[in-house]
């Protein structure tokens, strides 16, 4: 591919959605260190607010986190709550999350409340998240919340969220289990029951969050062929990991996951937001692929914030 000059790139970028097909050439071999308003913004589908229970995180303050995300051209962040991991009063968790998003990031922070299937009357929390707090989706944290995806209520949750048009984010991990605080013992999340629940529910909108794809290849293939589920990139590892996943690296096996099924997720503030953006830069991705991962696929899932 022949590099184009910067002015041409910006002109193309400013064409908005059309730029995806037009700007199919690289920015340049040595891009200057100045910002441009035409570069696509990023929808971050995986951030959490408030305190991580086991460490004071650098960007635990919501105002500071919002500023940090915006500095890196995040235009919208889907926010869960660290409080949902261990607390029993889920209504309190969700109410505080909604208020925090309104106060510090209206139109930017999109609250994703949580329900805990192990607690009684979780269905009421679904209703309140949707009807009272007007949340567009829910995020569950199996393992930290004391249930696995084979919980008898899992299928009901998938159906209930689908009927309400809610996105269901299923978190597959929060940190490397080798460095867990000794007081907790969170096992791996079982994937197969989720696949069954999603396959049997029409119109389910499911995102696998912080998903390391340790599952059998055929399970992942079924997830891709039989459902519309998407994955975030926060847990993708290895040089060129995204490229390997979508099959954009010459000489390596073809796609395991189509690019339209991948969304951006940083796992901030636990992970540095820089890491996820650098994954986009490290992998050989063209303009169309980048746009899809940075915002297009997430916007398709949630048309408006």
């Amino acid at each position: 591919m022949k590099p184009i000059d910067r002015r041409s790139f910006l002109k193309n970028s400013l064409l908005g959605a059309a730029a995806v097909s037009v700007a199919a050439q690289p920015v340049a071999r040595s891009a200057p260190a100045t910002a441009s308003s035409g570069s696509p913004g990023i929808i971050d589908t995986n951030v959490n607010l408030f305190d991580w229970p086991f460490r004071k995180l650098k960007y635990r303050d919501t105002k500071a986190l919002v500023a940090k995300l915006k500095k890196h051209r995040i235009i919208e962040a889907w926010a869960g709550s660290f409080e949902a991991l261990l607390l029993k009063d889920m209504n309190g968790v969700n109410t505080r999350l909604a208020a925090e998003c309104r106060e510090h990031g209206p139109g930017f922070l999109v609250p994703f409340g949580s329900v805990n299937l192990a607690w009684p009357d979780w269905e009421e929390d679904v209703r309140r998240c949707h009807e009272v707090h007007k949340m567009p989706g829910l995020r569950i944290y199996p393992g930290y919340q004391p249930f696995d995806l084979d919980h008898p209520a899992m299928e009901s949750l998938v159906k209930m969220t689908a009927e309400r048009g809610l996105i269901l984010q299923v978190v597959f991990g929060m940190e490397d289990p080798r460095v867990h605080h000794p007081i907790i013992n969170v096992g791996p999340v079982t994937f197969a029951p989720l696949l069954n629940a999603v396959v049997s529910t029409q119109n389910a909108k499911v995102e696998l969050v912080h998903f390391a794809a340790p599952i059998r290849g055929e399970d992942l293939a079924q997830l891709m062929t039989k459902t519309n589920a998407v994955l975030d990139i926060s847990r993708v590892e290895g040089n060129g990991g995204i490229g390997r996943m979508i099959g954009s690296i010459t000489g390596l096996p073809s796609a395991r996951v189509p690019v339209e099924r991948i969304v951006f997720g940083s796992h901030a503030p636990y992970f540095p937001v820089e890491t996820a953006i650098l994954k986009l830069i490290e992998s050989p991705l063209d303009a169309q692929q980048l746009h899809a991962i940075m915002q297009g696929n997430a916007r398709r899932l949630l048309p408006r914030a």
């Binding site: 650098k58 490397d176 490290e282």
Partner: protein, 294 residues
Amino acid sequence: MSPREFFINPADYGLPTRDELVGYRIWDNHFHGFASTNPIEQYERNNFFVERMGIERSIAQEVGGTLEKPLAPYAFDAEILKILERDKDRLSGRTPIDPAYPEESCAKIEKWIRDGPCIGIKYWLSTEKGITCSHPNNDPIMRLAAELQVHVYVHTWLKVGGTPRLPGGDNGESESTPMDLAKLAQRFPQVSLICGHSGGDWELGVRAIRPHKNVLLEFSGSDPHSGMVEYAIRELGVDRLVWGGHGPSRSYATELGKVLDADISKSDRMKIFGGNLRRICAPIFRKKGLKIEL
């Protein structure tokens, strides 16, 4: 796509451009390019990412044997040696040893470092139960390292588990903890040691090595945690941190993000990205007549 083609400008996302990454003079202290059943193909393929992310030099962790069988001849040794010579401007190597066999390990150091191309020693696990880096078996190896003025990289971890459940309780039978490394450092303060993987659990690893000024900390091969680099600088000082990429199994993106997350000066970033490693590599580079600009 060529390694230098980008469809977004990193600067627009608050990140260094490739030119700026090159300007940091990044030395990858932890490179697993040859750790594969097909090491040559993997190495050549990974060069795309080395070039793309502006890495100046990679230090391969397994030159001469493998981590699993460090003292046995390896079918790819000759080809790897040719690559080391071909790519000497951007590639160096450490040779792995096994403290269960100190005499054989010293003989290997003589062959691959004194008389060969390697510039450091790599400890992974031992083949014998209980022979961690703090075991007395290590002493002749350390004396030889001191004589040759080479640094020693030690894989360390603190995997939570066991009964009672504690950090390190799930370590392998010969897997060193950062506390093991601290014991070794106390016996050999004249040898530069690198605490690999930040001890596995960086909040505890940093504490373990804190008193021993000859121990540097390397973060690679663990998840990126926001704030970890600033914590290490506060406790150890910026001169004791080195950067590792741990590719290709980990991504340069993961490892670069750890340092770019830190609100530190450019000069401090340069120390972590390569300056500190060059400082401890300089004596052996000069002995071998290799060019090194600090």
